[in-house]
Amino acid sequence: MQLFPCPFCGPRDETEFHYGGDAGNARPDGADVPIERWANYLYLRGNPKGAAREIWVHMNCGEFFVMERDTVTHKVVSSTALGGELAA
């Protein structure tokens, strides 16, 4: 069982968290977004092996945050409240 650090609640059981996608995957804005740009935003993923920056949600407090993590060792490097990661 792994503990994940919620920036608001501290270390909590991994089962309380839900994965929310790549950090920095900005939603396209405006009326003339090309189809490929929408497809990239909706579907394409970095899916890195090793160091990753990801959006997670702590389901108990409902807060979204950014976690830096290694996808091979599962070691957590940092966990911070959202900055501009969801903005276009």
């Binding site: 909706l42 970095g46 092996k49």
Partner: protein, 417 residues
């Protein structure tokens, strides 16, 4: 000098002390160039090489495997073979695989131990029964064998299920596919390797791709830990590591990699002679020919490249198993393992050209690549040989994510995606 397996060759070898058996496949040094290169020595990669040689007459082929053949997901699955899917595109794809599996032992001269013991997807409510009837209808219309099971039918094929009145997941019926079953997973890899080798394919193990050779905007070969290999056609069948190779080739894929766990119990006498899947419990289970109870469940909750799996998911799976079969509470678990699977938003594979010309994809099988090995190999071989789709692979092209023609088989894939 025994090359072909038969009752007669077994008998002859018995007379000479089993001294004449030959190596099943060579371990050659990589050549500087090939007509085609297949990355990934799992079931799909080896099948691709075999069908390139057999169906298309292209035998100057190398299969490059970073570890050992069949050491990835081919050696880490739960060996179920089935084609109980919903959409016509999927039925064409998995139906092709299922038909090829039925003739595979003969085709490869290698016993893959296909055992068509049937599979039941349980329904635990009247609502699930309605969806079950709809699925059975779709399968029958698409020409796939399917039957809607009553609770009595389920009791007939799986009498040890928890049918007690206070069962948490009572049985209302199920979706039955009688041709479904299991095959020996290692034998599929070894059989394809041996048959491809006989046709001239070079199987090169311990050979990792470090980069792609790109000239004039096209893929012209690969850099490996064993030197550069030039070719005009590269196929990629590396399951959970597709994104890693795609990054080397300069593009991204609609894939998240997750660990998928499975485990087996100690071997016991025959007690379960079919494959049982319960969506409610999130578990599917069968008994191996050795007697082990083979248990699989849903994906781990965390994107991961660690081939080990985590405890919370295993606990969920075991809890679900004991809801289904309380009698298994006395079993000891022998082994637990995980493979890294490539999960796509619509739970259907990606087969087709990649954004880098000359590089072709076979990936995104998620939790169910094993059952599709013969089809994945046939279709990637066709793409490598002709450069074009055929009718079966066309709907699974990468372009479906831009066009919106998704094939959402989240239900057909069987377990939670």
């Amino acid at each position: 000098m025994t090359r072909r397996y038969s009752a007669l060759s077994l008998f002859k070898e018995g007379l000479v002390g089993q001294t004449g058996w030959r190596q099943a496949w060579r371990s050659p040094e990589p050549k500087p160039s090939y007509d085609a290169v297949v990355i990934g020595g799992g079931g799909h990669g080896l099948a691709t090489a075999y069908y390139l040689a057999k169906n298309h007459g292209i035998a100057r082929v190398a299969v490059l495997e970073k570890g050992w053949i069949g050491g990835g997901n081919t050696g880490r699955n739960t060996t179920v073979v089935r084609s109980n899917y919903y959409y016509p595109e999927s039925v064409e794809l998995y139906g092709l695989a299922h038909r090829l599996y039925e003739g595979l032992s003969k085709d490869l001269n290698y016993n893959v131990m296909l055992s068509q013991r049937g599979m039941v997807n349980l329904c635990h409510s009247t609502a699930e029964m309605e969806i079950g009837a709809r699925t059975v209808n779709a399968m029958q219309i698409n020409g796939i064998d399917a039957e809607l099971f009553s609770p009595e039918d389920v009791r007939r094929v799986a009498p040890i299920y928890n049918f007690s009145p206070d069962a948490r997941f009572p049985v209302f019926g199920g979706i039955w596919q009688g041709r479904a079953g299991t095959a020996r997973h290692d034998a599929v890899a070894w059989g394809y390797a041996r048959a491809a080798n006989r046709l001239g394919v070079d199987i090169i193990q311990n050979c990792e791709i470090t980069d792609f050779i790109v000239e004039g905007g096209r893929c012209r070969g690969v850099q490996t830990t064993r030197g550069a290999i030039r070719t005009e056609r590269v196929g990629m069948a590396v399951a959970g590591h597709s994104s890693v190779l795609a990054a080397k080739a300069g593009f991204r894929l609609p894939i998240n990699s997750y660990a998928l766990q499975a485990c087996v119990s100690e071997p016991v006498k025959p007690i379960l002679d079919t494959v049982v899947l319960s969506p409610g419990c999130g578990v599917y289970v069968s008994q191996s020919d050795k007697g082990e109870i083979v248990i699989g469940g849903g994906l781990d909750r965390i994107p991961s490249y660690a081939q080990r799996g985590n405890l919370p998911t295993l606990e969920t799976v075991i809890a679900g198993l004991l809801e289904m079969f309380p009698i298994f509470g006395q079993l000891k678990l022998m082994r637990q393992w995980a493979g890294i699977v490539d999960v796509v938003p619509d739970s259907s594979p990606i087969i087709g050209p990649s954004p880098l010309p000359n590089l072709f994809l076979n990936c995104g099988w998620g939790t169910g690549g094993f059952k599709a090995i013969p089809a994945g190999g046939t279709l990637l071989a066709n793409l490598l040989a002709t450069g074009k789709h055929n009718d079966i692979s066309r709907p699974f092209d990468l372009d479906r994510f831009a066009s919106g023609r998704l094939i959402d088989e989240a239900a057909g894939s069987g377990i939670a995606h």
